[in-house]
Every structure is written in structure tokens, then in C-alpha cells.
């Protein structure tokens, strides 16, 4: 219950956080765009209405005629029609002749400061207390009876300009709000649909049997698939380890039963039997105990190998190092002090990707088997064949009989265990190592058709790269 609540809260907060991010982006963008739209709108309104203003001023300037040596303005209605496009704005105008004397218009209309050239001069000034925009244009006359310039100033309050700027801003803000709403809705839907696989995963996981370690379906977006893939790998490893642990336990129980029972029987016999048979009994008891110790060693080694194969990341390993290490360990001298072991290695490194400890353990087992069951001389060798690397142990004997060969390598090689040795278990370690690093185990006659050779075949490191390059 608490767990479910935690999950829901986590999901909700992710969605809320993303939405909050989107929302604050939109708000910031909205404020920026509003200011930009207002600046743009004001500029557009200024340009539009400045055109009207200068149009009206030119219209008035064009209707100045020289009558009897003086400028006379036949004030055009069209000029005021133009200005009346800003229907709610007050208008002022003045036509001034030489020396700034008012010809017609409003005496209180301001004049442009400074010299006015052929281009119209715009300026801002108050008009009856309201802010207003003015333009002054000049018309020059060179007539017989009048020579000089006439200044026409036209001004207008800013109501229409401000309304236009506000209208443009309002329009932009309205459109933007619409888009913003659509974006928010879209973002919400997209985020929710993107999170749906997570949601489903969470539901499946919480509905799952805690011992169910089968892989989950890895559909959905790539990020989720990666996650599911990792999780599946993790669960697979967990599954294998749980399996290995189960096997270890059941094997241990299984394989220990017989030797322990034998030891007990020997011990009981030793107690009940004639005292003169006692040294013989004790000798057997020691043998049995040593055999049990070997068995335990191998079982632990196997558990170690399976554990490492799954957990230690594979690293480049030179198989020659493995062979040398096994020989230098001199474990075989304990088993068969009189036996000769010949090392067959070349001068080129033969690299595989694997775990050195696991590989050593596997080769030790191979060697131990050969020394125990085979005939001298025993050879330990490393070689390469195409894309694969091989490490092998060969003896001069004929190998086990075919019916044993069929069963050999399985976990329950009971006959071996019950006899107090552990060849079967040893081979199963080799097989587990081979599987862990993508290789296999082959059994058969040596290359010359004589002797018995067990080979651990592994993919050669770098071989794929070489092939690709070729």
C-alpha cells in the first residue's frame, strides 16, 4: 500500500515537474512576445499614421497658390479626410509663410525646430495637453511675384496610434494564448503518452510474482527499452544465480549423501570391528575423507566459476598464461607425483575474452582428470584454429568407454562421485566456463588419432575485428 502510494507520487511529480517547466517556458516566452508585439505594434502604428500625417501635409502644401503676390491656401477637404482616418483624434495645422507669419490654420500649432529640408520633419509635442505627433513639410516658390518657402505643419493626437498598437498587441497575445493552450495540452498528452510504458512497467512489476524472473516485454520508446533490457539482463543474472545456488545446494546434498554415508559406515565398522582391523579401517576412513574434501573443493570451485562467469566482466586473457599458471600451481604433483606433464605452447599470444580465475579452474580440472584417469604422458597445450582459441589436455590412454562418454559432464555424475572421485563434476565445471564465455568443450582422440584429448574451445579475442577489417 505504502509502496503503491510512493510510486504514484513519484509519477505524478514527474509529470507535474515537466508541465511546470513547459508552463514557465510559455509564461516567459509569452511575456517576451507581448513586449515584442507591443514594440512592433507601436512602431507599425507610428509608421502608418506618420504616412497619413505627411500625406495630409503634402496635400495642403500642394494646394498653396500664389495669388496677387501672396500664398493662398485652398485648403483641401481630402487632407482632413486623410487625418479623419484617425477618427477620434484632434487635429491641428498651420501654414506659415516668410518669417513664420501665420497664413492660415491654428496659431498655437508648434513649428519644427531648426531648418526643414526637402524631407518632412517629424516631431513630438503636446497638443492642448495631450501628447501628439507633428510633421512639417516645406514648399518653395520661385514665382515672379513671390519667392520663398511656405511651411506646412500638421499634428494629430495619438489616440488612434495607441489603439492600433494595443489592438495589434492584443491580437498577438490572443493568438499566442491560443497557441500556448494548445501547446500545454499537447505537451500534457505527449508527456502522458511517453510515460505510459513506465506506468505499464510499474503496474506489471508490482503485479509480478516476486520469484518470477522471466524477462519483461521490451517494447516502448528506446529509452524505456534500454531500461527494460538492463532490467531483464539483471533479472536473468539473478535467475541464473538463483538457479546455480539451487543446483549447488541440491548437488551438494545429493553428492555428499553417499560419501558421508560411507564414512559413517566405515566409522561404525571401525568401532564394532576387531581391533586388529582398526588401522585398515582408519586408512579407508582417511581415504574417504580426503575424497570428500576433493569433492567439496570441486563443488566450491564450480560455484565460484558460475558466480564469476556471471559477475566478473570478461577481460582479455592470454591462454598461455592460463596454462603456465596451472602448471606452476603444481596441484597435479599432489595427485600424481610421478606423472610428467608436457607444456605445448607457441610464442604468440592467444587471447580470449574471459575470466582468468575461472579459466584456470577449468584447466586445473581438465588436468586433474587426465592425471587421475588417463595414462602418461599428459600434455597441456594452447593452440589456435581459425577464429577460435583452444586450450587442451591430452593423455596417452583411450579415454573413457563410449557409454560413460555419453553421460560425462552432466551435473549428476553419480558413479564418479560415489566412487570417491569427481571427474564428472570437474568436466561440468569446464562446460560451465565454456558456456559462460561463449565456447564449448570437445572430447575425442588427439590430432594424430592417438590418445584422448579434452579441448576447451573459445572465440578468439580480436578475431571478429580482424574478420571485419578483412
Amino acid at each position: 500500500m505504502a509502496r503503491g502510494g510512493f510510486e504514484t507520487a513519484g509519477r505524478g511529480s514527474l509529470l507535474a515537474r515537466v508541465m511546470l517547466g513547459v508552463l514557465s517556458l510559455l509564461v516567459v516566452g509569452g511575456v517576451v512576445v507581448t513586449f515584442a508585439a507591443f514594440a512592433y505594434g507601436r512602431n507599425a502604428a507610428r509608421q502608418a499614421y506618420d504616412q497619413i500625417l505627411v500625406g495630409a501635409a503634402n496635400d495642403i502644401a500642394g494646394s498653396v497658390n500664389i495669388v496677387a503676390g501672396a500664398p493662398l491656401v485652398n485648403m483641401p477637404v481630402s487632407a482632413f479626410g486623410l487625418l479623419a482616418l484617425a477618427s477620434e483624434d484632434r487635429i491641428t495645422y498651420a501654414v506659415r509663410g516668410a518669417g513664420g507669419a501665420l497664413l492660415t490654420g491654428h496659431a498655437d500649432a508648434p513649428a519644427a525646430a531648426g531648418e526643414v529640408g526637402p524631407a518632412p520633419v517629424f516631431f513630438d509635442a503636446p497638443l492642448h495637453g495631450d501628447p501628439a505627433r507633428f510633421v512639417t513639410v516645406v514648399r518653395r516658390f520661385s514665382e515672379r511675384d513671390f519667392s520663398g518657402s511656405v511651411h506646412v505643419t500638421v499634428g494629430q493626437t495619438l489616440r488612434a496610434r495607441n489603439e492600433m498598437a494595443l489592438g495589434l498587441t492584443r491580437g498577438a497575445v490572443l493568438v499566442m494564448s491560443g497557441i500556448g493552450l494548445v501547446l500545454i495540452l499537447g505537451a500534457f498528452l505527449v508527456i502522458r503518452s511517453a510515460m505510459r510504458p513506465l506506468d505499464r512497467m510499474a503496474r506489471e512489476l508490482s503485479a509480478r510474482d516476486p520469484y518470477d524472473l522471466t524477462p519483461m516485454p521490451a517494447d516502448g520508446p528506446a529509452e524505456v527499452a534500454v531500461m527494460v533490457g538492463s532490467m531483464n539482463r539483471f533479472m536473468g543474472r539473478l535467475d541464473r544465480q538463483v538457479g546455480a545456488m539451487k543446483h549447488l545446494i541440491s548437488d551438494t546434498a545429493h553428492q555428499l549423501r553417499t560419501p558421508v554415508a560411507a564414512i559413517r559406515a566405515q566409522a561404525e565398522l571401525a568401532l564394532e570391528d576387531d581391533p586388529e582391523h582398526l588401522p585398515q579401517r582408519l586408512d579407508r576412513l582417511v581415504k574417504r575423507t580426503r575424497s570428500l574434501g576433493n569433492l567439496l573443493d570441486q563443488m566450491l570451485a564450480r560455484a565460484l566459476v558460475i558466480h564469476r562467469a556471471d559477475n566478473a566482466p570478461p577481460e582479455p586473457v592470454d591462454l598461455r598464461d592460463v596454462a603456465l599458471q596451472v602448471l606452476e600451481g603444481r596441484d597435479h604433483e599432489v595427485l600424481a607425483p610421478e606423472a610428467e606433464v608436457e607444456l605445448v605452447i607457441g610464442d604468440r599470444a592467444i587471447m580470449v575474452l574471459g575470466d582468468e580465475i575461472s579459466l584456470c579452474e577449468a584447466v586445473k580440472n581438465l588436468l586433474a582428470n587426465a592425471l587421475r584417469h588417463g595414462q602418461s604422458p599428459v600434455r597441456l597445450g594452447v593452440s589456435r584454429a581459425g577464429d577460435t582459441a583452444e586450450i587442451w589436455v591430452e593423455d596417452a590412454g583411450n579415454g573413457p568407454p563410449p557409454e560413460v562418454l555419453d553421460r560425462i559432464g552432466g551435473r549428476f555424475e553419480r558413479s564418479a562421485a560415489s566412487k570417491g572421485n569427481s571427474a564428472g563434476l570437474g568436466l561440468s565445471i569446464v562446460r560451465a566456463v565454456a558456456e559462460a564465455f561463449g565456447g564449448r568443450v570437445t572430447l575425442g582422440a588427439g590430432p594424430a588419432g592417438q590418445g584422448f584429448r579434452v579441448t576447451l574451445v573459445l572465440p578468439r579475442a580480436g578475431a571478429v575485428g580482424v574478420r571485419d577489417a578483412g
Binding site: N74, S87, H128
Partner: protein, 348 residues
């Protein structure tokens, strides 16, 4: 309950100082008026009385001081009050619409907004500071005894043809406003000159028949009724029917008829601006407009038997283009041209 005019004083008798022509006060009978609303208007007291009486009946706390002015003195007074320390009226109403537009353009008015003002057509309001409260046509008057039914000029073209024939019975018998003496006459003539090319022809025709230019609506109407004039051009129709007269025919010219909307403004700094707004809303209300219609100040197409097509209707818009009519040079040029043609054929 009839409201009563408390006093009517003829301004002409009162001495040289006040420029108003007449003064009247309106208050509800039995009302305890504690506020006086001062109206300065170019409209005759008698014509405005019914609507003002109805207003004070509705608002017994108000008393109206109504001053009747000529349009030019009223403009001068309002302009002086706007810029100087002179006392301001609470309401100014004038038929000199161009002068009112000029006053508003000079920031002499205060704004007001209500559902009623916003319902007005755009041509009847400007800046929420000036409102057209009436609709009155510029008509052609004729004397039914002097003009035969066949010769009645229903359009300006007909009037033009009639004058071009130079029939002796119309010689000196056609009247129109003297645009130099009458602000309204100038406005009508100015609008005519913009409206159609017939204006030049009309001037020439007036000159040919030695038309009479006179100052005042009342004088023209009386002259036509009595037979001194056969035809009068561009007379404000609202003055005609306020008192029924014999032998008077009215024509709404079918080529186009000018419509004038008397303009009302509330001067900036008016002492009773709120009460003035109250009066404005009343004048624009259905009841106020109804009373104005009865006083013939509202032309209503369904009321009149005249068959004036809608396309012939030309409203004089209350907008800044009327400022051209106030321009000194333009006015000089226009008046000079008018003088040159109107008086062309005869010594003045």
C-alpha cells in the same frame, strides 16, 4: 402637470453686454430646484421648450436657464470661456456644427460615455465629446400660389433649369441664405460645393435671376409664405412646420438632401457636468427623441409623406473634415467666389 417658462426676456432689450438674444428658465411646477443648468443654444426657445419641460418634470431638482444665442457669438463666447476665465455654460447646443467641431478640436469639451451616446451613428458623434441630437433637412420652400404644380422644382437640376429660363415672375423672387451673414447658410453652401457640381450652376442661376441673399430662417419662411419670395433654397426644414403657414410648399430635393444634426457639447469645466450628461441622455432617449420629433427637430422617414430615397440622404458628418469650413483661407476663397458669382450680374 405642465412645466412653465418662468420668464422670457428679450436680450435685445436688455442692453449691449449680453450677446444672447433671449433667456428662459424652466422648472417643474412645485419642484424644489436647487441646481441651475445653464444651456446656451442657437435653437429658438419655443422649439426647445417642450423637451426641456419634459426633462425638468422628470428631474424636479433641476432648473434650466436657457439662453438663445446666434451661432457666431455663441462660438466666440464658448472659445473665450474655453481659454479665459469667463464662466462656462453647462451645455452648448449649436447648428453651427463646424464651429462645434472646432471647439472640440481645441479641447474645449469634456467627454461623456453612456449606452445612449454609444448607440448614436458614428456620423453623429465625435470623440465622445460632441453629439448630434437632431436630424433636420435643408429643403427648398416655394409659395404654392406663385409656383405652378408643373414648375415645382423637385431637384436642383429642375431649379437650375427654372432659373436659366429667366422667367420674369422669378426675377428677384428667389431667396437663399447670405453665407457671409449666416453660419448655417455658409455650412450648407460649403457642403453643397463638395457634394455636387450643380453648385457652380446654382450660383450662376442665382445671379441671373438676381436672387435675394438674406440672413435668417424666420425671415425667409415668412417671405415665402407671404409671397415676397416664390422659392427659397437651402432652408432648414425644421423651422418650417413649427408653425403651420398658408401657401407654403416644402421640397426635399430628390437628387440629394442635406441633413444637419445639431451638435451638443458639455464644455470643459462645466459646473454641472453630471446634470448636463443627464440632459444629454434624456435628449437621446426614445422619449426625448420623440418630443424632438414632435417639435420637427427629428426627421423621420416614416413620419413624412415625402418620398425621399435613402440614397439621396446626405448627412453632414460631425467629424474633423468640417474643420476645413473653419479655415481662414478656404473661407475667404469660398466667400469671394460666392460674391463674384452671386452678385456678378448686378451692382451690390
Amino acid at each position: 402637470m405642465r412645466a412653465r417658462a418662468l420668464a422670457v426676456v428679450l436680450g435685445l432689450l436688455a442692453g449691449p453686454v449680453p450677446a444672447q438674444e433671449a433667456v428662459a428658465r424652466f422648472a417643474a411646477t412645485g419642484g424644489q430646484a436647487d441646481t441651475v443648468l445653464t444651456i446656451r443654444s442657437t435653437t429658438d426657445i419655443a422649439i426647445m421648450a417642450p423637451v426641456l419641460e419634459a426633462f425638468v418634470e422628470d428631474h424636479p431638482e433641476l432648473e434650466i436657464a436657457y439662453e438663445q444665442w446666434g451661432s457666431n457669438p455663441l462660438y466666440a463666447d464658448s472659445l473665450a470661456a474655453c481659454t479665459g476665465p469667463q464662466a462656462v455654460a453647462d451645455v452648448v447646443v449649436s447648428s453651427g456644427v463646424h464651429q462645434m467641431v472646432d471647439l472640440v478640436n481645441r479641447a474645449c469639451a469634456s467627454p461623456y460615455r453612456s449606452a445612449r451616446t454609444e448607440a448614436l451613428a458614428p456620423a453623429r458623434r465625435w470623440r465622445d465629446e460632441l453629439w448630434g441630437i437632431t436630424q433636420e433637412a435643408a429643403v427648398i420652400l416655394y409659395n404654392t400660389r406663385l409656383v405652378s404644380a408643373a414648375e415645382v422644382p423637385r431637384t436642383r437640376f429642375a431649379l437650375l433649369d427654372l432659373m436659366r429660363r429667366d422667367a420674369p415672375q422669378y426675377h428677384g423672387k428667389i431667396a437663399t441664405y447670405d453665407i457671409e451673414a449666416s453660419g448655417l447658410g455658409f455650412l450648407f453652401a460649403f457642403m453643397d460645393s463638395q457634394e455636387a457640381t450643380t453648385f457652380g450652376g446654382l450660383m450662376e442661376g442665382f445671379s441671373r435671376v438676381e436672387a435675394v441673399a438674406t440672413c435668417c430662417s424666420a425671415e425667409i419662411i415668412e417671405g415665402v409664405s407671404e409671397g415676397r419670395y416664390a422659392i427659397a433654397y437651402n432652408v432648414l426644414g425644421s423651422y418650417v412646420d413649427s408653425a403651420p403657414r398658408p401657401d407654403l410648399g416644402v421640397i426635399y430635393p430628390e437628387d440629394y438632401t442635406l441633413f444637419l444634426s445639431r451638435a451638443l457639447m458639455i464644455p470643459r469645466g462645466a459646473a454641472q457636468a453630471d446634470e448636463a450628461a443627464l440632459l444629454l441622455d434624456f435628449l437621446l432617449s426614445p422619449r426625448g427623441q420623440g418630443i424632438l420629433a414632435e417639435s420637427n427637430l427629428m426627421w423621420r422617414p416614416d413620419f413624412d409623406e415625402t418620398s425621399l430615397p435613402a440614397s439621396a440622404r446626405r448627412d453632414i458628418p460631425i467629424d474633423p473634415t468640417l474643420l476645413v469650413a473653419m479655415d481662414r483661407h478656404r473661407r475667404e476663397i469660398f466667400v469671394q467666389k460666392w460674391r463674384a458669382t452671386f452678385w456678378a450680374a448686378r451692382p451690390k
